[in-house]
């Protein structure tokens, strides 16, 4: 990437008395204008996550009215932990959707990661014994091939992670929860390298590649765990606590301080630096309102979650912010930072918006296309850690059933476009909350799985419809 210096001196203003500044170009706008612009954008079809937020509010109100158990502290904390795994898979899928691609294998791929992780724990680090020698050597060979493909595509992170997976498998490292989680992520990244290679270098449509892999990984999970088998990980305190444990009271408030304070520092710092330099800013009242609202929500949520929420408070105490909250927040921050602040993220948006323009701008389009599958698969592995922890075991259904539907649905419901170019990691969190509420609420109302699946599917269909219509509307606005 050359950073050839731009002209420091601007060309002299053109002759002929032309206005040499931006007439009506503005760097700041009044609060009223900003709100007006927001509504204009809504009318233009840029809905963002507004439908999801409205839907979330409606669902919460409806379920609260229908069930006394819905809006209780215990159920709310439980609901977040239930949805967290799929929400994290959705966060990775946002990267793939931004390019207008799809990863249908994200669900079962996460199941493979969960199975390998759990096998390492259950078999005392002896994957060779757990898989049988043929399967084990095929597995290791697969990881080596993945590393090779990653090097070929110059995706160094993918290569390093794949090789770590090989090392952990070959060395027979003794069981350790942290090593097992690392192994899961490394296996995920390696699988992502293979998917990415097939989509971007061989040029197969991602729909076909990942549909084939979806079935393949399902078979692999069955091979690893065995028909009717199950790997229990409940006995590992660390693995079990990921989705079932909570921060201490001090830790909870520290998290609140870091989250709310960090958000305020970053947003206000950037806002006032921009103001000082005369760059485009939002109205100060709106920025202050946003920072204040985030702080208020953080404090309120922390306060609520630090109350003892045990169903029988005299016997056991359950309090503190669940570990999954800082995990999701950390992934949200990292994922958003990468998309908004790094060159890589900018190029993802560019390729998703206009791949030909990106190519002409010198961006390595095929590398970007491959890399998002590595991101998505690694995130799916983290999701696998969380949902396996929540379940306390891994069985051949891990990552199957509606995991993928839920993850794609979360991203799309949150406002990420299926057509590429538009989306945020935060969309996965908002959409994930919507689906978690649907699943949990219908469960409380004792609805069978059939109803839950039908409703979840219809909600996804509705979100995709909104996406397609708003895209048409945005296209029409240009004419």
């Amino acid at each position: 990437m050359t950073d050839s210096p731009a002209k420091t001196e601007t060309p002299p203003p053109p002759v002929g008395g032309a206005i040499s500044d931006f007439g009506i170009d503005t760097t700041s706008q009044s609060t009223r204008e900003a709100i007006g612009n927001y509504f204009a954008r809504l009318r233009g079809g840029e809905l963002g996550s507004l439908p999801a937020l409205l839907g979330l509010a409606a669902l919460v109100i409806a379920f609260t009215a229908l069930s006394d158990n819905f809006l209780t502290l215990n159920n709310t904390a439980n609901l977040i932990a239930q949805g967290a795994g799929k929400m994290i898979i959705a966060m990775g899928l946002v990267y793939v959707l931004l390019l207008g691609e799809i990863d249908l294998s994200a669900g079962t791929l996460s199941g493979v990661c969960a199975a390998v992780m759990a096998m390492h724990y259950v078999r005392d680090g002896n994957l060779l014994g757990g898989m049988g020698s043929t399967v084990f050597y095929v597995f290791v060979l697969g990881m080596v091939v993945a590393a090779g493909l990653a090097i070929l595509m110059r995706i160094w992170a993918g290569a390093v992670l794949s090789l770590i997976a090989v090392a952990i498998a070959m060395l027979g490292v003794p069981p350790n929860a942290w090593i097992e989680m690392l192994l899961a992520v490394c296996v995920g990244a390696a699988i992502g390298c293979i998917t990415g290679f097939m989509v971007s270098k061989i040029g197969m449509p991602s729909f076909v590649v990942t549909l084939a892999l979806f079935i393949t990984w399902q078979g692999v999970i069955l091979q690893f765990i065995g028909e009717g088998g199950v790997f229990g990980i409940r006995t590992s305190p660390i693995l079990f606590n990921v989705a079932n444990g909570s921060l201490s009271l001090f830790g909870s408030w520290l998290l609140c301080l870091i989250a709310a304070g960090g958000y305020a520092a970053v947003v206000l710092g950037e806002h006032f630096r921009r103001l000082r330099k005369g760059l485009v800013t939002r109205p100060t009242p709106i920025v202050l309102f946003k920072v204040g609202a985030v702080a208020a929500i953080a404090i309120l949520a922390t306060w609520a979650l630090t109350i003892n929420r045990s169903p029988n408070p005299n016997l056991v105490t359950i309090q503190g912010v669940p570990y999954v909250v800082p995990i999701i927040l950390a992934l949200l921050v990292v994922g958003t930072y990468v998309l908004n602040r790094t060159r890589y993220g900018r190029h993802i948006y560019a390729v998703g918006g206009n791949a030909e323009a990106a190519r002409r701008a010198g961006i390595n389009v095929s590398k970007i296309r491959a890399s998002v599958f590595v991101v998505s698969a690694s995130a799916a592995a983290i999701g696998a850690i969380v949902y396996s922890s929540k379940a306390g075991s891994v069985d051949p259904q891990a990552g199957g059933l509606n995991t993928l539907l839920f993850a794609v649905g979360a991203a799309v419901i949150g406002g990420t476009s299926l057509f590429g170019g538009r989306g945020k990691v935060a969309h996965a969190v908002i959409g994930g909350l919507v689906l978690a509420v649907v699943e949990n609420g219908l469960g409380l109302l004792r609805q069978p799985a059939a109803v839950v699946n039908i409703v979840t599917g219809l909600v996804l269909l509705l979100a995709a419809t909104v996406d397609a219509l708003s895209r048409r509307r945005a296209a029409a606005a240009l004419r």
Binding site: I19, F22, D25, V280, R341, T342, A350
Partner: protein, 257 residues
């Protein structure tokens, strides 16, 4: 006459069975505006894209400052200091004006882009082009009109410290005032010592700013004439028939004789 900055020698290009460019020779000199004219489908855009590293050529040589160079990718062209305004503009709709102008060459480190300096530089360049109708440089390109997009594409090309600027119908969608600005800019770039290639269907514009007029006819470069010694009707004949009097393609009878 100054020395040639960019020379194309014997460029051939086919898309499958369609032979689009036949042995095209073109010379771009520093400090001159070279107009490239020709009918629709004559191969003007294709020629530009070959120079820009978007299409590989089948045969022929490209020389930059007398040295043979190989341009295999848009990045190679940019590294040489060749900037292109494409006919289809090549902007990403979902990115804003600043993001588009710096696409692929973002300032700052890979891990943290320098948004402040990019925004300021983009604003200054746009101001120098008298873009008066863009509300904010942080507007997504999808919200701009056709003419505004074209100005952004031009601003994107002049932002860099380039040696050669190739403009493919840069004024096609512009209003009167904006066209004026772009034509002034074209002259100004040449005066600053850049080599400029301007593709246009508007003869008045061509005669106003060009030093030399090169005509492509069905993929062949049939004439390379000084603008001052050429008339309007000669150029029109060259474009439509490939020859005009003694200029252009040899008459068929000359070939048979």
């Amino acid at each position: 006459m100054t020395e040639p900055l960019l020379e194309l020698i014997g460029i051939n290009k086919s898309f499958g069975p369609v032979h689009v460019l036949h042995d095209v020779n073109l010379t771009v000199r520093a400090g001159e505006v070279t107009a490239l004219v020709g009918d629709n489908g004559a191969g003007k855009s294709t020629l530009i894209k070959c120079v820009a590293g978007i299409h590989p050529t089948d045969s022929g040589e490209v020389r930059f400052r007398g040295e043979p160079v190989h341009i295999h990718s848009p990045k190679d062209a940019a590294d040489l200091g060749i900037e292109v305004v494409y006919q289809d503009l090549a902007l990403a709709d979902n990115l804003d004006v600043v993001q588009n102008m710096f696409l692929g060459r973002e300032r700052g480190s890979g891990w943290l882009m320098d948004e402040f300096s990019m925004e300021r530089a983009a604003r200054e360049t746009l101001a120098s082009l008298s873009v008066r109708t863009v509300k904010s440089v942080r507007t997504p390109v999808s919200a701009l009109s056709g003419g505004q997009r074209q100005t952004v594409a031009i601003a994107k090309a002049v932002l860099w410290d380039s040696k050669v600027v190739l403009l493919d119908e840069p004024t096609a969608a512009l209003g009167v005032a904006q066209t004026r600005q772009v034509l002034d800019l074209v002259r100004r770039l040449a005066e600053q010592g850049l080599g400029v290639v301007l593709i246009s269907h508007n003869m008045a514009d061509v005669f106003e700013v060009a030093d030399r007029i090169c005509t492509l006819y069905l993929g062949r470069l049939v004439a390379d004439l000084p603008a001052k010694e050429t008339t309007h009707s000669q150029v029109v004949e060259l474009i439509t028939a490939g020859r005009s009097g003694e200029l252009g393609l040899a008459r068929p009878e000359h070939v048979t004789l």
